[in-house]
């Protein structure tokens, strides 16, 4: 009994002089008194079973110290109750963070607004976790950057010492590699614009995607375009059904910024069936019943630029059916021992597979761009490989021997 009460008495006495300062204080002391009265019976019973040895920590001591610390930062206690939901949410997030939940440390007004627009609790949690991981990544990047800068400084110092001793050397080229590469890629891109095989990205799926999915799709488009630019023989890329001032367009312009107008590809509001003859178009979709056997150099392949996290099956197939187009899917099951994950590949994986097929015609080579986590290895197809090697004989001459007929096997 004396354990708590002994500590509380001076505390209560301390509180009394403070009471005239505000309503809140008054309330507080009454609560305290109530608290003391309610405490008494339980204390007596508590005392019985805690005839502990003297060495034990005082079990309730921490409460007193916790309460005495209140007085120090007592200002925060006084707060106006009519705060709006946004501040309440902000405080709630802060408390959740103290609890060790995955929520961001700093949150902007805009993000708070997005948060309040989330339809459900789980959506809110998800969004907060997303912000948390974003913040964490940003911090880690910042840290890395600083470390690298430090390392560079040191390297510079060391180099300075070195170069003072080194003599003048003779070079053939100035160090302008990046620019040279860019220019070369530009030339190749122009060539592709004139004579390249068309490859269409169909942007007609904007309505099926949420904001996040759309952003992912744009990232994948950017990467696809990058892979195409670096290839020996690039496709002539078409962005079809790209309506100006649509979310797609806005996001693309935002990501490419001033480079958008100088991109060596055709962006159009038209549908692919307006641009190309219908019978030469092949729509690539994982839902197609037809399997792609070879890459045809006279066909126009269409890839739906559609990131589908809701697993709404058959949308692109329905589109192809509506336009009465031929469809095909990659022969994934024929060549790979599929393990898990969906057969839908990302846009950049698709374009890398198509580029590889265009250059080599070797499925096993091309399908190495399928993520390794999705399959357990290549399947042996003896009769097929014979056909392939027969077919490819005339083509192999133009390529280094090593790059072909190489069978990479995981297991």
């Amino acid at each position: 009994m004396n354990v708590t009460v002994r500590f509380l008495r001076p505390f209560a006495r301390l509180m009394v002089p403070f009471t005239p300062h505000g309503k809140r204080r008054n309330l507080y002391s009454t609560i305290l008194q109530r608290y003391m009265s309610s405490k008494v019976p339980s204390l007596s019973c508590y005392n019985k079973d805690s005839k502990s040895p003297l060495k034990q920590l005082e079990l309730d001591g921490w409460k007193t110290t916790m309460k005495s610390s209140i007085q120090e930062d007592g200002v925060s206690v006084v707060s106006d109750k009519d705060e709006d939901t946004l501040t309440a949410t902000r405080e709630m997030i802060e408390m959740r963070r103290l609890l060790g939940a995955e929520v961001p440390e700093h949150i902007t007004e805009e993000e708070l607004k997005t948060l309040s627009e989330c339809p459900s609790k789980s959506a809110q949690k998800k969004y907060l976790r997303f912000l948390y991981s974003k913040e964490k990544m940003k911090k880690a990047k910042q840290l890395k950057k600083e470390m690298r800068a430090e390392a560079r400084e040191e390297a510079k110092k060391a180099k300075l010492l070195e170069t003072t001793t080194a003599e003048q050397q003779d070079f053939m080229f100035l160090r302008l590699w990046d620019r040279q590469i860019n220019i070369a890629m530009g030339w190749k891109g122009v060539q592709a614009m004139q004579f390249g095989q068309p490859l269409v990205f169909d942007m007609d799926y904007e309505n099926y995607m949420k904001r996040v999915e759309l952003q992912n799709a744009v990232s994948q488009l950017l990467e696809s375009e990058g892979w195409n630019r670096r290839d020996v023989d690039p496709f002539h890329i078409y962005f079809c059904n790209l309506k100006t001032e649509s979310a797609y367009h806005r996001e693309l312009v935002k990501r490419y910024s001033e480079k958008w107008d100088k991109l060596l590809l055709t962006a159009t509001e038209k549908s692919p069936i307006d641009l190309f003859p219908k019978d030469s178009i092949i729509y690539l979709t994982a839902d197609s019943p037809n399997i792609m056997t070879t890459f045809k150099h006279d066909k126009i392949y269409i890839i739906g630029s559609f990131v589908d996290k809701n697993a709404q099956t058959g949308i692109s197939l329905a589109k192809a059916k509506r336009l009465n187009l031929a469809t095909e899917r990659l022969p994934l099951d024929k060549y790979l021992q599929w393990d898990l994950g969906s057969k839908n590949l990302t846009l950049d994986q698709m374009i890398r597979i198509l580029l590889c097929m265009k250059n080599t015609g070797n499925w096993e080579e091309a399908l190495k761009f399928v993520p390794k986590r999705k399959h357990t290895g290549y399947l042996e197809i003896p009769q097929h490989s014979k056909v392939v090697s027969k077919l490819k004989k005339p083509m192999t001459s133009s390529f280094p021997k090593g790059s072909l007929n190489v069978r990479t096997r995981k297991r």
Binding site: S38, L57, L59, M92, G100, A318
Partner: protein
């Protein structure tokens, strides 16, 4: 034959388990077998005190019913296709014994040896020195204390040690976890202590701490403050149903009935489904008060269960029964029972509500199936407009069918025999009963191959109307529409549970209608060998839903022992009858 071998293996499995005969509770230790999640656990129940003998008897009774169920399992199940636990039994019959015996091993993690008595700070220091896991030491320790349900004195000594280290400051997460421990130990005075600290130290709390506080405070004298905490939660989000459950139960505990009902209304208003415990609390409380208003509210709850096709659990069913029987002057009599195949209650013999939809509901469902399942905003997704037109013309040109057959599903049922042969045998057996048949299939079935013999398909086409959809079209929506279009008498044959099509429907109400219709019209073939006579899982003739006729109630409920899938319905019922002379007295 496949079926028979599977059946034998099940039998072996059951006989492998030694049986302990349960006599009258004389032996000091009795084993009690429960079947939960594929695991067979032996619980030992000690019969030491007379107070336990009651529970003992209950256990014995339960075990007896379980044994009866075992016997049922030995026979081929005679339950209907959608009976609770039926899918589980089906998978049991089909899977190999090895699969059945995969017991989940308890995961072993690196844990800290928790003290059982309060430690000194030196001892805590020492314990921390030995700790080499991730995260902070005190956080891990207190989390494990929650897990192991340690005594609060130990937790207190930990907090005191932390406070001594940190200038008397204990972190928020430690406080909340300690609070949780106090609440689980029902230490109300401690809860109030921590509440004071939290309230003083922090301007607002987050929902987790608020929820725990509500739970802790609701049974104390300061339960009204818990309602303020509920208001705090409402500022940022909709409180959970558990929050409401705590508040309602607290209000009932303190006899504030009107508050409890208004909280209940709020809960329903947020479109939350109340916990069954909440409803049970209302019924339990209702036993002691005799108030027409309150009784009507309880009847409203039953109506809510009916409208949302919710089924009470065993405990709630008992509460409902007790409440009904406690109403003075009405003389209700409750009985736990089952319903016969004919749709009559085994206890009172009354016919239950028919499974058939009313004509408005029927038209509504037909419209929805056509619009949302087949069309779905994009006709090309499941079919093409040309095909849809062709199908509609075809259906309208034919007289109404008696049975619609999912050709591919039926043909693939017997993996040992040829597809076309299996289909033909099913079709000809049905045709003998002079039923008007429709076989739905895909065009590839007509292309002669080793699996699809041309002659047999010709035979099928002679005996039944046939419609062949494109190979990339979905055939199930056509099946549904053809059946619905033929009228109420028409049934369809498939093993498919049609869950994906049910999911296409826009709202829960339509989905329930669809499920109700499906229960009454789907014929599933009992998987026997192909040569034997065709038998179907019997369709339900009655609707499994909470129902009343004024002086009787029939309430289906879930047994605690049986796990029911979402597409199954309970098989056990609570039958409540009013004695006939009662109305005359009223």
């Amino acid at each position: 034959m496949t079926h028979l071998s599977g059946f034998r293996s099940v039998r072996k499995l059951w006989t492998n388990i030694p049986y302990f005969e349960l006599g009258p509770a004389t032996s000091p230790v009795t084993f009690f077998l429960t079947v939960t999640r594929n695991q067979h656990r032996w619980f030992s129940v000690k019969t030491t005190s007379p107070a336990n003998s009651k529970t003992m008897n209950l256990l014995v009774a339960k075990t007896r019913t379980l044994k009866k169920e075992d016997d049922n399992n030995r026979q081929v199940s005679s339950d209907h296709y959608f009976a609770a636990g039926a899918a589980k039994k089906r998978s049991y019959l089909n899977s190999s014994p090895e699969q059945q015996r995969d017991h989940a091993m308890p995961s072993v993690r690196g844990t800290i040896e928790l003290p059982t008595t309060p430690l000194t700070s030196e001892a805590w220091d020492q314990l921390q020195a030995e700790f080499n896991g991730k995260g902070s030491f005190e956080d891990r320790v207190i989390s494990q204390m929650l897990h192991n349900h340690s005594s609060i004195d130990v937790a207190k000594s930990l907090l005191a040690w932390v406070a001594a280290k940190n200038n008397g400051i204990v972190g928020y997460n430690l406080l909340v976890k300690y609070l949780y421990l106090c609440v689980s130990h029902k230490e109300t005075s401690e809860v109030i202590d921590v509440y004071e600290i939290l309230k003083a130290k922090y301007k607002c709390l987050e929902s987790g701490a608020n929820s725990i506080l509500i739970r802790g405070l609701m049974h104390s004298d300061r339960w009204r403050e818990a309602l303020l905490l509920l208001e705090d939660i409402k500022k940022v989000m909709i409180p959970s149903k558990k929050n409401y459950d705590d508040c309602i139960r607290g209000a009932l505990f303190h006899q504030d009935v009107s508050l409890a009902w208004s909280l209940y209304q709020e809960l329903i208003g947020h479109n939350l489904t109340p916990l069954l415990e909440t409803l049970k609390a209302f019924f339990d409380f209702g036993k002691n008060i005799n108030d027409d208003h309150y009784s009507n509210k309880l009847l409203d709850i039953l109506a809510y269960l009916r409208n949302n096709q919710l089924y009470p659990g065993e405990a709630l069913a008992h509460s409902i029964k007790t409440w009904f029987e406690s109403i003075p002057g009405k003389q209700w009599k409750g009985q736990f029972t089952t319903v016969q195949k004919s749709g009559h209650c085994s206890s009172c013999g009354r016919a239950l509500e028919s499974i058939h939809l009313s004509s408005e509901e029927y038209e509504f469902l037909k419209e929805k199936i056509l619009r949302d399942v087949i069309d779905g905003g994009d006709q090309y997704k499941k079919t093409t407009p040309q095909e849809l037109k062709r199908f509609e013309n075809f259906v309208n040109s034919c007289p109404p069918f008696d049975i619609v057959i999912d050709g591919l599903n039926v043909a693939k049922m017997f993996p040992k025999s040829r597809e076309s042969q299996a289909l033909l045998s099913v079709v000809s057996q049905l045709a003998q009963q002079s039923l008007r048949l429709l076989v739905l299939g895909r065009k590839h079935m007509l292309r002669p191959s080793s699996r699809w013999k041309k002659e047999e398909m010709e035979q099928v086409r002679k005996q039944a109307y046939c419609f062949f959809a494109d190979n990339i079209s979905k055939d199930d929506p056509f099946l549904l529409y053809a059946t619905l279009n033929s009228g109420n008498h028409c049934k369809f044959i498939t093993q498919d549970l049609m869950r994906d099509h049910k999911a296409c429907l826009p709202d829960a109400h339509t989905q329930r209608l669809f499920f109700k219709w499906q229960q009454g019209h789907q014929l599933a073939i009992m998987k026997c060998s192909q040569r034997s006579k065709l038998t179907f899982q019997h369709t339900l003739s009655y609707d499994t839903v909470v129902q009343t006729t004024g002086d009787s109630w029939h309430i289906p409920y879930d047994e605690d022992q049986v796990q029911r899938s979402s597409y199954e319905v309970p098989t056990k019922w609570l039958c409540l009858q009013r004695k006939t002379q009662a109305p005359a007295l009223c």
